[in-house]
């Protein structure tokens, strides 16, 4: 099948690529003009920029902002001319006010590309617009870290309120067969992604059952509400430290009799983890033992905590739990894609990637396996995968955009992660933006 598959991947990929908006509209190019390009080239500058973005919400005044900006830029040894100018502004009070305002505006501008609103109400206009364009969504509520029980309760309450806002809003939208039905049946319109680390302050890597126990009542309430409102609840995966707790928690709750029929729910599989195939074994075994009326959705992602996992492992002298070569990770992604597609209809499959090759592979593989396009969902991140999302939608595929919601303070950690991804040298988007030829972008991962 390899040859046929490769041919089909080329065909799908080329067609998608043609449906992309013009190069000028590429996210990296528009994202922010020169700063990002500069940042990609200069590691010190990149660090200064991230540290600035990171501290913006904690600054108490424009003057404070400017002082921080100047402090970070101080540490860039080779300052390009615009930066030297900025540094000079930092010397006077009026200059600092201007610099602070410019810095804050820049960060806000960047944030708005990735974050669709301060709260779910505020996000509705964008979400409705996406639906009209044939794109579904999953809303993710950004928040500060949860370190107390009160914070966990607040996050759970925000999630409940979000479901209350989203469900009726989506009910009122025009029917779109492609977005709300596959061969397993109807697909919930309203879709919320939640994080277990926000539902409990007690996630302890060496005692997973503690966080699990503490988060369970809050998650159970959310599952009940989602069932009542006919919404989908997706439980995100975070760093490896919490994987055991998250996976056990979700599978345990979904096995409770009251959730056998509803709600529609999902988990995440991270392909960058070397042991992700075993995690999938575990999930598929669970699915066999717990058949659900609405199949469990498995969202396959590469994984967003790569740097964290590598650094943590190196600091402790552990073997690195993630693939360190991008090609190995890409190959594993394809392997898991295929296994997931073959596991239907016991699971619903959502492939979340901005890598044109990985996405084309999933589409091609599905078709060669005899699957209908409607039995495969593709997911993109708001702000990074918008072009790909539109290209996929116009090719008649089901696309869901992952849409973070939250204020600037809450959104900063998320924004920094996205920016990191966006300026990484190995990023697929960077390759694409810098004009790497299509054949190369669509070539199979060169594993060793």
């Amino acid at each position: 099948m390899t040859k046929t598959l490769e041919r089909e991947i080329q065909r799908v990929g080329s067609a998608l690529s043609e449906a992309f908006p013009s190069r000028r509209g590429h996210p990296i190019k528009v994202l922010d003009e020169r700063a990002m390009d500069l940042a990609t080239q200069d590691a010190e500058l990149r660090a200064a920029l991230f540290r600035f973005v990171d501290v913006v919400p904690a600054c108490r005044s424009l003057d404070d902002l400017a002082t921080h900006l100047a402090g970070f830029l101080d540490e860039v040894s080779d300052q390009p001319p615009p930066l030297s100018a900025a540094m000079k502004m930092g010397n006077t009070k009026a200059g600092r006010a201007a610099l602070g305002a410019a810095g804050a505006a820049g960060v806000r501008h960047m944030a708005h590309r990735f974050i669709v609103g301060d709260d779910p109400e505020d996000a509705l206009a964008t979400l409705k617009g996406l639906w009209r364009e044939g794109i579904a969504s999953s809303v993710d509520l950004l928040g500060e870290a949860t370190v107390t029980a009160a914070e966990a309760d607040r996050y759970a309450a925000r999630c409940a309120a979000a479901l209350d806002v989203l469900a009726p809003a989506y009910d009122a939208m025009k029917p779109d067969e492609r977005l709300e039905r596959d061969s397993s049946g109807p697909i919930a319109r309203a879709n919320l992604s939640v994080k277990v680390s926000a539902l409990t302050p007690l996630l302890r890597p060496e005692a997973p059952e503690r966080g699990q126990r503490d988060a369970a009542p809050r998650l159970r309430e959310l599952l009940r509400r989602a069932a009542r409102l006919n919404a989908h609840l997706h439980i995100d995966m975070e760093s490896l430290d919490s994987r055991e707790a998250v996976l056990e928690l979700v599978l345990e709750l979904l096995a409770e009799p009251e959730f056998a029929a509803a709600p529609s729910a999902g988990i995440v599989l991270q392909a960058y983890l070397r042991d992700s195939p075993e995690t999938l074994d575990r999930v598929l075994e669970w699915v066999r033992e717990h058949p659900r009326e609405t199949p469990l959705t498995v969202r396959l992602v590469k994984g967003a905590y790569w740097d964290h996992e590598v650094v943590e492992a190196r600091q402790h002298g552990w073997s690195v739990p993630v693939f360190e070569r991008k090609a190995d990770c890409d190959a594993n992604f394809e392997l898991l894609t295929r296994r997931l597609l073959e596991a239907r209809p016991a699971v619903r499959v959502a492939i979340a990637s901005h890598n044109l090759r990985s996405v084309s592979h999933a589409i091609a593989c599905n078709r060669l396996l005899g699957g209908a396009d409607s039995d495969l969902e593709l997911q993109v991140l708001r702000g990074l995968g918008d072009d790909l999302g539109h290209a996929l939608a116009s090719a008649g595929l089901r696309v869901r955009s992952y849409c973070p919601v939250g204020d600037l303070v809450a959104g900063m950690a998320y924004l920094v992660r996205r920016l990191l991804e966006n300026t990484a040298n190995e990023s697929f988007l960077a390759d694409q933006a810098h004009g790497v030829p299509l054949e190369q972008l669509l070539a199979p991962p060169a594993t060793a």
Partner: protein, 519 residues
């Protein structure tokens, strides 16, 4: 002898269930009580004068030890003195090899050693494992350090003379160790002395004779001669007798301030007929402060402060006991800290889910409770409503704010799960208050402006300052550890300078000119 570069012994990856069950199995297999002798050369005297118990279950006896007498202290010093010539003249490579074999012996027994530290000192699993790893690190690190020290230090050379500087061992070293790192610290101090050619008499803490026994077993299994390492379990008097002994050249001590100062006084008293000045290598207590600036990321600061203050129930000399926070974020920080502390689970060290284990003994529990009551009377207390296990020396973790400036809670080393928070106008005021303290061990700063970081770094007197992280968990070779002012003699365990405290420098200059000719 070329050794691979030093690398820290990796701690267990306890987020994996398979690793956790290995440890639990080791605890199940631990046979107690241990019998701990006074062990001088090849002579062992068993006895039951000293008993260590599980702080989480005081009925459980962990070790039954003989308590060394003053005569036995003298006998141990005599044995160490007799062994000194032979060990000092053993080639440094052979001494290093013995330490490396001791490291291998420990590596093979990691789960069992961690289980013992857990039982005897209520070290929670992760910390017990880290203690074993640190012990191994000290052996590996000092073995390498001694080899490079043996190469001497280059001197200026001119025609007609040859100058050499080499380091010689000082003699008998009395190692007086604490219970809170019951394997790593006694082994670290002993290994430093042995690596450089000294002989050692180890007096482990009275609360941890079982761990002390394992330290001596490891070194002897590695090939350190019997006379070169003796074990003297006992209470304070045994240590005092040891320190006073005229044939003790070096006292390596880690423990409380009052005992350390007493040892310094003892060493300073040079009796008639003395042949050597005693040197004291002392690591004592602290009153460690965390500064939180207005721009700090509280999402990171709160968990790091909780870990610093309440890990191992606050019983580390590096533990944080005061937070000095910018007034703009004071209330928010107190609220979040209090909430986080409310969520801590007080429970036995052997339960992976416990956050706060019991303190070491009844006296410690009483002391912590006294300070908690004092704090409640003088300030606003949060936390402390935890469910405590019925048996064992448990203390509820508490956070107190709004204390008067002269409160004893802000001054004394409490060595327990009690954290105070003070509001300051700015980082400079925080630095002033820290500067007013007589101790200077560790500290932390949470701030994101690089200029603030530089200012605090310049003003901070502490031996170990941590920026945007917890105050605990120093690693051998990465964070050489030790305090200044009354916190210690400025030595840095796990650093490249540490071994210099155990040697005396000797310079030899040879005239190579003979009848006007350089020979």
């Amino acid at each position: 002898m070329t050794l691979p570069a030093f690398a820290n012994e990796p701690v267990l990856e306890l987020r994996r269930a398979t690793e956790r069950s290995k440890l639990e199995a080791a605890l199940g297999e631990l046979k107690l009580p241990l019998r701990v002798p006074v062990w001088i050369g090849d002579d062992r005297r068993y006895g039951d004068e000293l008993v260590s118990t599980d702080p989480g279950d005081p009925e459980r006896i962990v070790a039954v030890a003989a308590g060394a007498t003053a005569e036995e202290a003298a006998a141990a010093v005599a044995a160490a003195r007799a062994a000194f010539g032979g060990w000092a003249s053993t080639p440094p490579t052979e001494r290093a090899a013995a330490l490396l074999r001791a490291a291998a012996w420990m590596r093979e027994r990691r789960p069992a050693l961690a289980a013992l530290a857990l039982r005897e000192c209520a070290k929670p699993w992760a910390e017990a494992d880290a203690d074993v790893c640190e012990a191994i690190d000290f052996l590996e690190f000092y073995a390498r350090g001694a080899l490079s020290l043996a190469e001497g230090s280059p001197l200026l050379q001119v025609p007609g003379e040859r100058n050499e500087l080499h380091y010689a061992p000082r003699g008998v070293c009395a190692v007086i160790a604490p219970w809170n790192f019951p394997l790593a610290i006694p082994l670290g101090m002993s290994a430093a002395a042995l690596a450089t050619g000294n002989t050692v008499v180890l007096k482990p803490a009275e609360q941890a004779p079982g761990c002390g026994l394992r330290v001596v077993e490891a070194l002897r299994a590695g090939g350190v001669p019997a006379g070169a390492i003796s074990l003297l379990p006992g209470e304070g008097e045994a240590g005092a007798a040891l320190a006073r002994h005229p044939d003790v050249a070096t006292i390596a001590f880690t423990g409380s301030g009052p005992v350390g100062l007493e040892l310094l006084r003892t060493a300073a008293d040079v009796p008639d007929g003395a042949r050597q000045l005693k040197r004291v290598v002392a690591e004592m207590g602290g009153k460690n402060c965390v500064i939180v600036d207005a721009d700090a990321d509280l999402d990171e600061a709160v968990p790091a402060i909780v870990e610093s203050a309440f890990g191992y129930a606050g019983q580390k000399c590096s533990a944080a006991s005061r937070v000095l926070v910018h007034e703009a974020v004071h209330d928010l920080l107190v609220e979040r800290l209090a909430g986080a502390v409310d969520g801590l689970q007080v429970g036995p060290a052997g339960d992976f889910a416990s956050d706060v284990p019991p303190v070491i003994e009844r006296r410690a529990q009483e002391r912590v409770r006294r300070y908690a009551e004092l704090a409640a009377g003088e300030g606003a207390l949060a936390g402390g409503r935890h469910v405590l296990p019925r048996h064992g020396w448990y203390c509820a973790p508490v956070v107190v704010s709004g204390l008067p400036r002269d409160s004893a809670v802000l001054r004394d080393e409490i060595f327990g799960p009690l954290l105070s928070v003070e509001s300051v106008r700015d980082v400079d005021e925080a630095c002033d208050r820290i500067d007013a303290l007589p101790v200077a061990l560790t500290g932390a700063l949470f701030a994101r402006n690089p200029r603030t970081v530089a200012r605090v770094v310049a003003r901070s007197p502490v031996g170990n300052l941590y920026v945007n992280r917890s105050t605990t968990g120093a690693m051998v070779g990465r964070q050489p550890f030790g305090g200044n002012r009354l916190s210690g003699t400025g030595t840095k365990a796990g650093g490249s300078d540490y071994l210099l405290h155990f040697v005396e420098p000797r310079v030899v200059t040879e005239n190579t000119l003979r009848h006007g000719l350089v020979v």
